[in-house]
């Protein structure tokens, strides 16, 4: 059963068809929430809410890119969460390193390599969390999740030109933030 058919079946109220769509996109939805919030527990709650909300409102999805639609719901939910919590998400590097999301994915990975990867991921995530929300969303969608500019434009509900400018500003800011911690970067990324 292809995606369009699954969508049509889900619109008719078939939960099993919708669950197949959930399995297709849950990793991207969860990772977007995690990168936006830097909080695994909140990202888990947001991801579940996104799929419940998507199922309830699937009839409003007429046509287009389901992934971009789901990511748009996710980004809106993250924005509402950050707004309602009124918490400045300045997560420390130590807190990021304690985050279970950076646990080793490969059991054969050498301890040194795992430590370096963990530290690097912590540095990058810490830099990401210091960006303004709209710039963070652009850079996570394009550079982390690998969406095209057009898909990101649909997910952010802004023109492609806005995606380009936000992405450029985010990358410039990240360059400055990462340059401050060059000792933690791999050799090839040091200037």
């Amino acid at each position: 059963m292809d995606e369009l058919e699954l969508i049509e079946q889900s619109k008719l109220g078939r939960v099993d068809a919708f669950n197949q769509l959930v399995l297709l996109y849950q990793t991207q939805v969860y990772n977007l929430a995690l990168r936006m919030l830097s909080d695994a527990a909140a990202a888990e709650d947001i991801a579940q809410d996104v799929f419940i909300s998507a199922y309830k409102n699937l009839r409003t999805f007429v046509a287009g890119n389901l992934r971009a639609w789901l990511l748009r719901i996710t980004s809106n939910a993250c924005r509402d969460y950050l707004r309602s919590a009124r918490v400045r998400r300045s997560v420390s590097l130590d807190a990021m390193l304690e985050n279970p999301s950076f646990a080793p994915t490969d059991s054969n990975e050498a301890p040194e390599a795992y430590t370096l990867r963990r530290e690097l991921a912590g540095v990058i995530q810490n830099a990401l969390s210091q960006l303004p929300g709209d710039q963070r969303l652009a850079v996570v969608l394009v550079d982390v999740q690998g969406l095209t500019y057009e898909e990101s434009s649909e997910a952010m509900k802004v023109p492609v030109g806005t995606v380009k400018s936000r992405l450029n500003r985010a990358r410039s800011a990240l360059r400055g933030l990462l340059a401050e911690q060059q000792e933690l970067l791999p050799q090839q990324f040091r200037s």
């Binding site: 109220g13 399995l23 888990e44 419940i52 309830k56 950076f102 550079d143 990358r171 990240l174 970067l185």
Partner: protein, 238 residues
């Protein structure tokens, strides 16, 4: 000479360099930027930094989900899409809210019942505007016309004089005629027109008028609430 020409050339913007790193430039821009970074060290450095940053971001691992986010098999009610789009829904909600506000104001200020009030502020009952409906012994609907329809009758003049402030030449409104007809029909169906006292009918009519307003308010308030809830549900879909 070539060095002088290069120094007069403008540099590509950082946004263009960023897009160039992703391959999102037109063929003309691509040729220009690639030619430019061939000799401009500053722009070449910017491009390398952009590529390094993107390379770092791509190294962020994809975190596996802690659990499946699939839904339970119990059916969750699916929200029906508003047929005319979000803006129509917002407009309808706004118009309904305004109508509700207007009705509340009319109700609070008493303007809505001004046309049926005597100067003292006491609501005019059916007996005062349609005395024959209440005091007459007939149940014939044709006889339940307002007294002003028969300008020569003594009962008509007596009734108008009893109101005191209403001019004798005023014709009854259509609403009053309809109300009289409805009350006459009600009396006919009950079959006890002669037995009912005029005061109970006045109370009933006043109660009916009051409930008509309150029911209208309640209906509009319910509609406004439903539309507002629908709008709230659709907000996350933006």
């Amino acid at each position: 000479m070539r060095l002088l020409w290069r120094r007069t050339q403008r540099h590509p913007s950082s946004e263009l360099v960023s897009c160039y790193a992703d391959g999102y430039v037109s063929p003309q821009e691509s040729v220009w930027v690639s030619e430019h970074i061939g000799w401009c060290e500053d722009c070449s450095k910017v491009l390398n930094e952009v590529r390094a940053t993107v390379g770092l971001l791509r190294r962020l691992p994809t975190v596996p989900v802690p659990r499946a986010f699939t839904l339970r098999e119990e059916p969750i009610p699916v929200v029906q899409a508003f047929p005319f789009g979000r803006w129509a829904m917002q407009g309808t909600a706004f118009a309904t809210s305004m109508a509700l506000l207007l009705l509340v104001l009319l109700d609070v200020t008493g303007f809505a019942s001004d046309s049926t009030q005597i100067p003292s502020g006491r609501p005019v009952g059916v007996e005062e505007t349609h005395p024959r409906v209440l005091s007459g012994s007939t149940t014939d609907p044709q006889r339940l016309l307002p007294v002003a329809d028969e300008p020569g009758s003594e009962q008509s003049n007596a009734a108008i004089n009893s109101v005191g402030t209403q001019p004798t030449s005023v014709q009854p409104s259509g609403m009053e005629s309809n109300l009289a007809a409805k009350l006459g029909t009600a009396q006919e169906s009950l079959g006890n027109a002669d037995g009912q006292t005029s005061s109970s009918l006045v109370e009933r009519e006043t109660l009916f008028r009051w409930w008509r307003w309150e029911l209208g308010l309640a209906a509009i308030a319910s509609l406004a609430l439903m539309l507002t809830m629908g709008f709230r549900n659709s907000r996350s879909m933006r």
